[in-house]
């Protein structure tokens, strides 16, 4: 009986593993093709074989404009390194501001008692359902009036405030025991000290989750930079990739090398922060 049960379990385990492996293969094939193509030579790109016969690593320096492109024998007309910097700079700026303002506001919503708190919070929540495209048009108009077009601050400031971040951090701060605040108040701590020394360290998983999510979101953001910029110097990676695709789209091997370089930082960040990210997504999702 037990033996039978165990063997049945092993069979089902094998099936599950097989099924998961096939699904995993289907999910990963595009990535495999992407990486393999990025190491191909021009002549081999259009051949059906996935893994190149004669691999070359030259596509990467070509895209980074360190080497000349062999067909036209000149460097590509783009600034890939600059785009990298722009993306990371933009993402850092946005994340720093957004996490800081969200944390402060979340403290006011989660830990302070004041008249009208719940109403204001409901207003915040309500704005989360406004489609971003509704806000984009008037905000763009505002940026035009302020002459913020083609500037870093025009890219960063309008997206540096987030109702979602406030909501997420509030959820985390609510789970910090109120007894700690009371004890600290009795010890003579003011609100700023409570915020900075007690609540912030205890809400660290939430802060990390929000930081990673915001960073990735703004690293990948596309719509806002697209309409705000026409100066190629300031393009972030996303808009830069589009212009790269427009001008060199036929050279698949170069495009794929650029794609790999675009995705690589994401995968690194993900593998470091996976644990926090999952918990943040689930909290933000289920309780939303």
């Amino acid at each position: 009986m037990t033996n039978n049960f165990a063997s049945r379990r092993r069979v089902s385990l094998t099936w599950r593993l097989a099924l998961l492996s096939v699904l995993g293969l289907m999910i990963s094939m595009p990535f495999v093709w992407m990486v393999a193509s990025s190491f191909k030579q021009r002549a081999e790109v259009e051949q059906p074989q996935i893994v190149p016969h004669h691999a070359t690593a030259h596509n990467y320096p070509i895209v980074l404009t360190l080497e000349k492109e062999p067909v036209q024998n000149k460097k590509l007309d783009l600034q890939f390194g600059r785009w990298y910097f722009n993306s990371v700079f933009m993402a850092f700026g946005t994340t720093l501001l957004q996490v800081l303002t969200s944390a402060l506001a979340a403290y006011a919503f989660a830990r302070l008692k004041w008249k009208g708190r719940d109403q204001v919070f409901m207003l915040y929540l309500a704005t989360m359902m406004i489609p971003s495209v509704v806000l984009t048009i008037p905000n763009f108009q505002g940026m035009v009036s302020l002459h913020f077009i083609n500037t870093y601050h025009g890219l960063i400031i309008p997206v540096a405030f987030s109702a979602f971040g406030t909501f997420l951090l509030r959820q985390f701060m609510m789970s910090v025991s109120p007894a700690l605040d009371e004890a600290a108040t009795i010890d003579g701590a003011n609100h700023w000290q409570i915020f900075w020394d007690i609540v912030m360290p205890l809400a660290r998983p939430g802060l990390i989750a929000l930081t990673v999510m915001t960073f990735l979101g703004s690293y990948q953001s596309f719509f806002w930079p697209l309409i705000m910029l026409n100066d190629g110097q300031l393009f972030p990676m996303s808009v830069g990739m589009m212009s790269l695709d427009t001008s060199y789209g036929r050279q698949t091997e170069l495009i794929m090398a650029a794609t790999v370089m675009n995705i690589a930082p994401l995968i690194i960040v993900f593998s470091i922060f996976q644990k926090y990210l999952v918990s943040g997504l689930q909290l933000g999702g289920v309780k939303g």
Binding site: S28, W33, G116, P138
Partner: protein
């Protein structure tokens, strides 16, 4: 209150604590007495609390007001004007004209008002009945099984007609009705007539009415902005990936929520290494026998399985989450290359299969073909989202299903399917509902990036969604007023979905 806690520690701490407490209490009591004497103490404390809160709130509040609150009002105001960034256009208030231009129709022939009225009544009936069906489903009204069966039947009829006349829209709508009806008819309820039958009945009748009248409507009337309706239809069409995505996410979560290998670390390492060697040998043999691609695939399959043995479900979870995580412009460019009709691996593979099977067919042109562009985008979307946030939410939901329930079902001799159908699935209802609504909200607003990067909205506008239409109106034609009006219509639809979430999401908490 803290006595117990602190007396557990050393005595010194207790002393300190009490001292501090006394020190703190004394001035507080004094203040209280003072304010009480003056009167209005509560109000002052309240004001102080608000000021403190404001200090914390201020940075965010400024941004909120500047970039969310006022823009919303500004946008609404713009939608009643002809606001344009073109210097030639003279600003004026146009009242509701943007909206009537978007939603209105022009009579092109001897338009029969009765047709229009009938069409509107049917459309209204369908909308109301949709909400009613949801309501009946939640509230378990009597007779819901019959209504569901009716709806499913109508849906099947539409699918059949759509297939035979190759009308994608009919297949789409019919399929949706079929799924909704099926889910209602599959409930454990007696076959009887009751008020729960009405939504299904009205929905079926309304849909049939819409279909019958649509011929006369297109004959007698023309929408003032036909693009709007076409792009609205596109937006809805691109959302057919949602049920597949949800089903896929649930399947993945079910496969992943129990640990895979049973054994110690050493056994796992040995198992993984063995599988790796098998994969290398098998892949290598196939590769050198003249089929490098097949060799690669077989080798990768074993590699992934080995990772699963070595790292348990975490390996798969990470792998499935990868597309969601890296989603963005780069992945869309990748898929554009994959879908390339001549050089893309999808068509190269398909053509090779056709050739080897002796079928005289050519693979579709995917993004370049009006009929295939939308399915191609849906496929990409499903690949991107299937292992994403929905799967994680389902995993969380599955871990919240009480063990006693599944164990009880096991003891009662329920098979895996019965256990899923009667225990797991009902327990997951809140998660499913939440995922569905958020997917719909996201889907309504979606499609901009892929249209901009992969298809430019084409071919023939077949992949232009509402958000891409708004982008084109606002930032290509610079017609901000009209674009704002479209965005507000989108807002109203999204709001309706959110309201459904609020209305029904709360009642779904299963405990």
């Amino acid at each position: 209150m803290f006595g117990g806690k602190f007396s557990d520690g050393n005595g010194k701490q207790t002393m300190n604590f009490q001292q501090v407490q006394q020190k703190q209490l004394a001035p507080r009591a004094k203040v209280k007495a003072k304010t009480a004497a003056r009167g209005g103490g509560a109000g002052r404390r309240e004001r102080a609390a608000i000021l403190t809160a404001l200090a914390f709130l201020l940075p965010n509040l400024i941004g909120f007001l500047a970039f969310t609150f006022f823009p919303v009002i500004f946008s609404l105001w713009m939608s009643f004007t002809n606001w344009s960034l073109k210097p030639a256009v003279k600003f004026e208030y146009v009242g509701l004209r943007n909206f009537t231009d978007l939603l209105g129709v022009n009579a092109t022939g001897p338009g029969a008002p009765a047709v229009l009225a009938g069409f509107l009544v049917c459309a209204l009936a369908v909308t109301v009945a949709l909400v009613g069906a949801l309501w009946a489903n939640m509230a378990q009204w009597r007779g819901i099984k019959l209504g569901g069966a009716l709806l499913a039947l109508t849906g099947a009829g539409f699918v059949f007609v759509g297939c035979t006349h190759s009308l994608q829209g009919l297949v789409l709508g019919g399929g949706a009705a079929l799924i909704c009806g099926w889910s209602m008819a599959a409930k454990d309820a007696p076959w009887e007539f009751g008020r729960g039958t009405l939504p299904g009945l009205v929905l079926s009748a309304g849909a049939i009415g819409l279909w019958l009248l649509s011929g006369a409507m297109t004959h007698a009337y023309q929408p003032r902005d036909p693009y709007f309706w076409q792009f609205f239809y596109n937006t809805i069409f691109l959302m057919i990936g949602i049920p597949f995505g949800i089903a896929g996410s649930l399947a993945l979560a079910l496969l992943l929520h129990q640990d895979l290998p049973s054994g110690e670390a050493r056994q796992r390492v040995v198992g993984a290494a063995t599988m790796l060697v098998i994969g290398l040998v098998m892949g290598g043999v196939i590769w050198t026998q003249g089929n490098p691609n097949a060799g690669l695939i077989v080798g990768l399959l074993w590699l992934i399985a080995a990772l699963g043995i070595g790292f348990n479900v975490v390996a798969f979870r990470t792998l499935f989450y990868l597309p969601t995580f890296t989603a963005g412009v780069a992945l869309m460019i990748l898929w554009k290359a994959l879908y390339n009709p001549k050089t893309g691996p999808i068509n190269v593979g398909l053509n090779a299969i056709f050739h080897s099977l002796g079928i005289h067919a050519t693979a579709p042109e995917w993004l370049g073909d009006v009929a295939w562009a939308k399915p191609a985008l849906v496929l990409m979307g499903t690949w991107t989202c299937i292992g994403g946030t929905s799967m994680l939410l389902y995993l969380a939901g599955l871990s919240n299903v009480p063990k006693e329930l599944t164990e009880a079902a096991d003891i009662d001799g329920a098979g895996p399917w019965a256990q899923f159908r009667h225990v797991t699935w009902p327990q997951l209802a809140p998660t499913t509902f939440f995922i569905t609504i958020t997917s719909i909200i996201g889907g309504l607003q979606g499609g901009f990036e892929q249209a901009r990067i992969m298809t430019a909205g084409g071919p023939a506008g077949s992949t232009t969604t509402l958000s891409y239409y708004i982008y084109n109106k606002a930032f290509q034609d610079l017609d901000m007023g009209y674009a704002s009006a479209i965005s507000w219509i989108l807002f109203v639809i999204v709001f309706a979905a959110t309201a459904l979430n609020w209305k029904f999401g709360k009642g779904l908490e299963v405990d």
